[in-house]
Amino acid sequence: MNISKIALFSCIFFTIFLSADSIYKFDNSVEEKRFYSLISEIRCPKCTSGSIASSDVPVSRDLKQKVYELILAGSTDKEIKAYVTERFGASSDYKPAFEGANYLLWFGPFIFLGILMLIFLLNRKL
């Protein structure tokens, strides 16, 4: 085996150890699950569309780090989302809460579909 083959082999071999070591370390899997679900629900403020989980721009990295720190500090999911939307606006929450004007957001399409169905059915009978 020549030197370049050894070099190539060790590159491939050691990459496994590098990637296995996560940047975000948690004491338990509940916190870890919460972290990954939260970062997939927070919109990357610098992107056209995409969560901070899928983005590596500096502000997304900062946001992920902050979410990580807040989880370790014992904040609830709701508190973390409030913390983020306070700074980066309500549009940074990909899963808006079930309250107030957001009901229209969640049920709007169904109401619209219902009205269309009603018009359609009324027209058929006449």
Partner: protein, 173 residues
């Protein structure tokens, strides 16, 4: 009755097409025209040049401009910022994720339009302000943030976004 239904088939897609078309055509910068005023976040940072950070400068109308020596668009807006500061607009810098040496060099080379620059190497204050990158500019009136522009500040954005906000804010006084 079926005439209503038939016309709906044509009208509905047309309405949807026009509405969405309008959303797409509208300049996104317009979003910042209606800004919910908020308190300026507290911070514990140093002046870029080891001078004094005087929070009294946030009284009246002032601008907080987020800049960095690595930021290309900051170079583009630099002449306009200089023009503003020459017209007695109070301009405060927020040096964002930069090296102190490079930032000072940048100001020496290009000219310094700022009263002072807050040195924020980790982006702590910037995070609390909701900064997504550089450049960004905040309009401040009596310690409160009343406006926000992302990207280059130029004559057009100044006129369309900040001037109306300044007029509304200072009208009462």
């Amino acid at each position: 009755m079926s005439i209503i239904f038939r016309s709906l088939i044509i009208l509905l897609p047309l309405i949807i097409f026009i509405t969405y078309g309008k959303i797409l055509i509208t300049d996104r910068d317009g979003d910042f025209a209606s800004f919910e005023p908020k308190e300026f976040p507290e911070f514990n940072l140093q002046d870029l040049r080891d001078g004094e950070i005087d929070l009294k400068e946030f009284n009246g109308i002032s601008l907080l401009n987020v800049w960095a020596s690595w930021c290309i668009t900051c170079l583009v807006e630099h002449p306009f910022l200089t023009q503003l500061s020459n017209n007695d607009i109070k301009l405060i810098g927020l040096n964002y994720k930069d090296s102190q040496i490079k930032a000072k060099q940048w100001l020496r080379k290009r000219g310094d339009p700022y009263l002072f620059s807050i040195y924020d190497p980790r982006g702590d204050l910037a995070f609390d302000l909701g900064v997504t990158g550089a450049p960004e500019t905040f309009l401040i009136f009596n310690q409160k943030i009343i406006g926000h522009i992302q990207g280059e500040l130029n004559q057009e954005k100044w006129q369309s976004t900040f001037v109306p906000l300044i007029n509304t804010a200072t009208k009462g006084n």
